[in-house]
Symmetry: C2
Subunit: 401 residues, 2 copies
Amino acid sequence: MISVEEASARILATFTPVGAETVALAEAAGRISAAPVIARTTQPPADVSAMDGFAVRAEEARDGAALRLIGSAPAGHPFAGSVGAGETVRIFTGSFIPAGADAVLLQEDADAEEGGVRVRETVRPGQHIRRQGQDFAAGEAVIAAGRRLSPRDIGLAAAADHPWLLVHRRPRVAVLATGDEIALPGEPIPPGGIVSSNAHALAAMVAALGGAPSVLPIAADDTEAIGRAADAARGFDLLLTTGGISVGAHDLVQEGLARRGLAVDFWKIAMRPGKPLMFGRLGEMPVLGLPGNPVAAFVCALLFARPALLRLAGLAAAPLPISRAETATALGANDRRFAFLRARLEEDAAGRLVAAAFAIQDSAMQAVLARADALILRPPHAPAVAAGAAVEIVRFDRLGL
Amino acid sequence: MISVEEASARILATFTPVGAETVALAEAAGRISAAPVIARTTQPPADVSAMDGFAVRAEEARDGAALRLIGSAPAGHPFAGSVGAGETVRIFTGSFIPAGADAVLLQEDADAEEGGVRVRETVRPGQHIRRQGQDFAAGEAVIAAGRRLSPRDIGLAAAADHPWLLVHRRPRVAVLATGDEIALPGEPIPPGGIVSSNAHALAAMVAALGGAPSVLPIAADDTEAIGRAADAARGFDLLLTTGGISVGAHDLVQEGLARRGLAVDFWKIAMRPGKPLMFGRLGEMPVLGLPGNPVAAFVCALLFARPALLRLAGLAAAPLPISRAETATALGANDRRFAFLRARLEEDAAGRLVAAAFAIQDSAMQAVLARADALILRPPHAPAVAAGAAVEIVRFDRLGL
């Protein structure tokens, strides 16, 4: 058996980001930037007013002074002339400061008079002016490459005058469920069978992480059918399989893909749920063979498929985000397998985060998995702890999963 | 001026969830369930094996006993007969337990013999059997209404045999930017103008929260143009405007929409950035008028549009998730306006989360907003605090924004 860490590292080492594509700004939110976004504008484009008021020459705009109003410059309609001695121009937030002026008198500090305004509060030079380029300047990299673009980034890219952005294309991920006993939801269920669920959960996970999933037709439990499924997966960036590994004496998926030239590593990983994991390459395409048990498939996908997918998608490799909580119950000493306990989270009366492991940790319990908020991490040989002890957890809400 | 809390409460009180639509299971991830998902299957559908091994009668399967192999029942191929005295059937994880058997002998605890197996470890009754309905039973509500469907929920709904799910349709949100000075990214910029960015950031925020945004054509700074934009917004679930409120002596958006029958509340909210906010109804459609400054527009959208949208989308009203951090710098005493400081987050050497407010908090600084990880909350009249003091923050990563 190999450790969770070693398996993660070996998988991650083989993935590099997929190529780029051009998408419309409006389609770019949530995508990963494939190049820095270089500003094409300077913001503000000139010295502008930060407030509604009057453009003035500060040396004249002293308490009690009268100024002659020579024009108005709403945003988008700059004043063409110049502010001379004893003059002022009405301006608004975002208006360019007219030539000759060097400060803004707030409208609430000015009294309207026939033909002009009277200053009620002495003005400091530069007051209420946003300087040209204070936010960013043309040529500046305002957004780095390899960043998941937030709505704020979209606003910034717009302000920097980019109608298109270069992002990594979505990694194409084929998802293959195998088994004679499974049927698609809503279709006839074979005798002794159940409804296929892992492929749909995995496809949703792939999409949530930024990939483009394709659910392949279910492959029967025979190596030729699995080989044909591999043919259908040609050209994808990743093939995820579920089930069919380590069944009795057989590894149907491994045998089926071997017929198509799979270079395979098969690992028993010291973890619970999980353990059997297949990793290999079919030509250029990496293949990750997940267990068939729904909870084991999900936890293995979280640990091994998620980082691989994020790396393919163009993000830097990053560890799973770990939080802390108190365990609601005593936890026994762990053996040599890294255990991931499904748990609910709640805050206690003192505002502390408490993780309550479900009593039944069976790896076939999908309803428990769906209701869980987190996994409690129990590393190999973790000692027994009492209720109230600090434990490390992975929160599903933090992963968007 | 009214408080942030009062404005939030008054806005939220008027929103109710939009109607439902039927979507394919594969399209349902991330959507909000509009009805409980009732299981159509029982899982497991019968007593099944939790391991690979042999179905046995526990009373006979004692250490050293020899059992005659009468068949094999791979998953999906249940054994048609019954396990009689001295007999066993080969089974696998997920196989139905054949009639007559009441326990599973692990394959590693059995030695193959001519015509059968020899037991190497005495078997307990019920051992390694997953009971029918242990996960869920037909008729059980496995997923509640009003829940954002995770990939795990999609797996569970699949297992419960639902090819379609009932979800709230995406709230349709019209986004209207106003101003003579703004141009779409990539289009000619008017004299004294800038590129329109708020509408694109707001549309991305709407989409990230589960809404369907439509960016309306930019409306010029005249009331008739704004009135025509309102006509174009007919039938939407929410109209968000940005800019054009409280410009000099004018409220162009308010005046323009008033011509089309807007019932308006105009509020000055005790907050920074922000302050002016328009809220009203145009017929049935709620209208939220946000400021034109990019940072103010974003913070107001976070505080007022986000909860409204989540409520429209079918979620229960929930407060903004608040975290704690240490402030990296001393913060001055706050006045009566709730302040939201843009800040970066990092962990210090001791693993504590530290929030460093940007030195310049100008509400036009989009690059700073995009680089920020969080807002530091400074409630009205918050006292001055030293560096290292605990502060409340809102983390953008926790909001997916």
